[in-house]
Subunit: 318 residues, 2 copies
């Protein structure tokens, strides 16, 4: 069976303008579950990864509002909590879809710890906005009281907390997961792992692992996971059916089959938006450079056809 | 290797009079990790289960305080979140303890869904208090607005929400976990599962599983998990070194080796406090009646000796 990692965006679980509550997440995941189950039916061993931006934002906000009564939990711990939350959601919604598709597989959801390097330059330059927008006076308060780095977002007229976004270098549980897949686990179980990019930990001098206040890009973690389990294909699910060059310009062109060299060239030419397509392209290139065979970037409706090389952007080594 | 389930109480992660925050949980778990690692070193395959009372209480409180801004998540979802949270905590603290003990095992933490019956009488008589204490007027409000059942606690002078506590009947992921253990998984990995009694789900007519607002007793779930994976021994870790009859009376006697018949007789005589030792005794009897070989009820300092039949209360079939 081909081994495939499908990375769902955190926004796959929310609706623009929605309240980002549980009912909305259930509805959204239900729409995603059918196409995912079809991929399993087509014979792929599946690891599902997912983002958690809106969910960890909600948890941070609850932390803040309730802080006088309930001690706030660190960001890394909230990430582990969203792995439980969204892992459970995927289990609940994917199970009936698998059943309906005639696929007899269980679904496991696990906590994934992802090692990052303490010397990663990202710790000196926090760059990833998390949580809500703050007023000028709130921003001053949090800078002073909590030492937060903050950035002003002119478009939304508010300040946001920035946290470091270091590169994932190892999946703590990865070698055992690889072993399980190499012994047939993927024929019986869909695994949900690496949620929200995984819980970031750094290796301490004594060999232990310390959790850090950071957020790992979920697509880079998905690329790492795909590499570790020996997946042939990494699918990065997004809101658009494919990657475009000249996006929303007169010379816009949607990419179908491309090589990693072509894609890297477009990327160097600045074709891909920071914070939207650029990190997905970087994750794709990382996976292919580390031995992966194929990356598909597409949306949920085109997922199955993308894996059949019939839709989406398909990136290969040559 | 003997296969052993160790059930940690939710209070193993909090200190009486503490703030029940993350630092406190880390400190408490650190003290528990050493003895747990010794059990692994002694050659036991280990599944660790845990309670989540204080943690889910904190999440419910955050839900309430922030409800105007952040849509509250259902109780079952919060349970899945605490499985992520406490699973991560156990991974982080147990890993260096295993390393120090010279045990080369990984640690997996998974979301466990536990099936309960929709016709369980517990759904008609909610009995398990969750969350904080409410004033008379708050209790009236929540009864009316949310349809909560509430009970007055005279000792603490407040009302608490009651939720159903149905019996666990099946572990959704259980057969696959059993298969993994039967193929050597337990020699390589300590598994954290069944946290907070597991996420309660009922089987719908279409075969799907629906999450329900309920709390499953974590000791009964631990007994079920021990049965499903074919464990020989279930250890129920509590605050006292053993089970007593005539507890705190002049004829108090601590039980060492007892048979399930003797224990069941003491239980029928009302020796064990509801909400404290009685549910542990019931879980112990359930495991033994379903084929388990031994239950040890003891505290963390006596854990290792308990497993060597040298401390704690050891209950056997005959």
């Amino acid at each position: 069976m081909p081994r495939t990692v499908v990375a769902l965006g955190g926004n796959a679980l929310t609706r623009p303008g929605g309240d980002h509550g549980w009912k909305e997440a259930v509805e959204r995941m239900r729409a995603t579950a059918g196409p995912l189950a079809q991929v399993a039916k087509d014979g792929h061993e599946l690891v599902v990864t997912h983002g958690n931006g809106p969910q960890v934002g909600a948890a941070l906000r609850q932390n803040e509002i309730a802080e006088r009564e309930v001690p706030p939990r660190p960001l890394a711990v909230l990430n582990a909590e969203t792995e439980g939350q969204i892992g459970f959601l995927i289990q609940q919604e994917l199970a009936p879809a698998l059943h309906h598709a005639g696929v007899a597989r269980g679904i496991f959801a696990m906590v994934s710890r992802i090692e990052v390097k303490a010397r990663d330059a990202a710790f000196k330059r926090p760059s990833k906005p998390v949580g809500r927008y703050y007023s000028d006076s709130e921003a001053r308060l949090y800078r002073k009281r909590s030492g937060w780095q903050m950035a002003y977002d002119g478009a939304r007229g508010g300040w946001r907390r920035l946290v470091p976004s270091p590169r994932p270098v190892a999946w703590v549980e990865g070698s055992e997961v690889r072993r399980l897949f190499d012994h047939g686990f993927g024929r019986r179980v869909v695994l949900v792992a690496g949620g929200g990019g995984g819980v970031p930990v750094v290796r301490a001098r004594d060999g232990g692992l310390t959790a850090v206040d950071a957020v790992i890009d979920k697509d880079l973690t998905s690329a790492l996971i795909a590499e570790v389990i020996g997946a042939e294909t990494l699918v990065i699910v997004t809101d658009v059916p494919a990657v475009a060059v000249g996006f929303q310009k007169s010379w816009e062109r949607w990419l179908g089959a491309v090589t990693m060299e072509e894609l890297a060239k477009f990327h160097r030419q600045g074709e891909f938006g920071e914070g939207s397509m650029a990190p997905k392209v970087e994750a794709a290139l990382q996976f292919l450079r580390h031995g992966g065979r194929r990356v598909v970037i597409t949306d949920i409706p085109s997922l199955r056809r993308g894996l059949r090389d019939d839709a989406g952007t398909r990136i290969t080594r040559s």
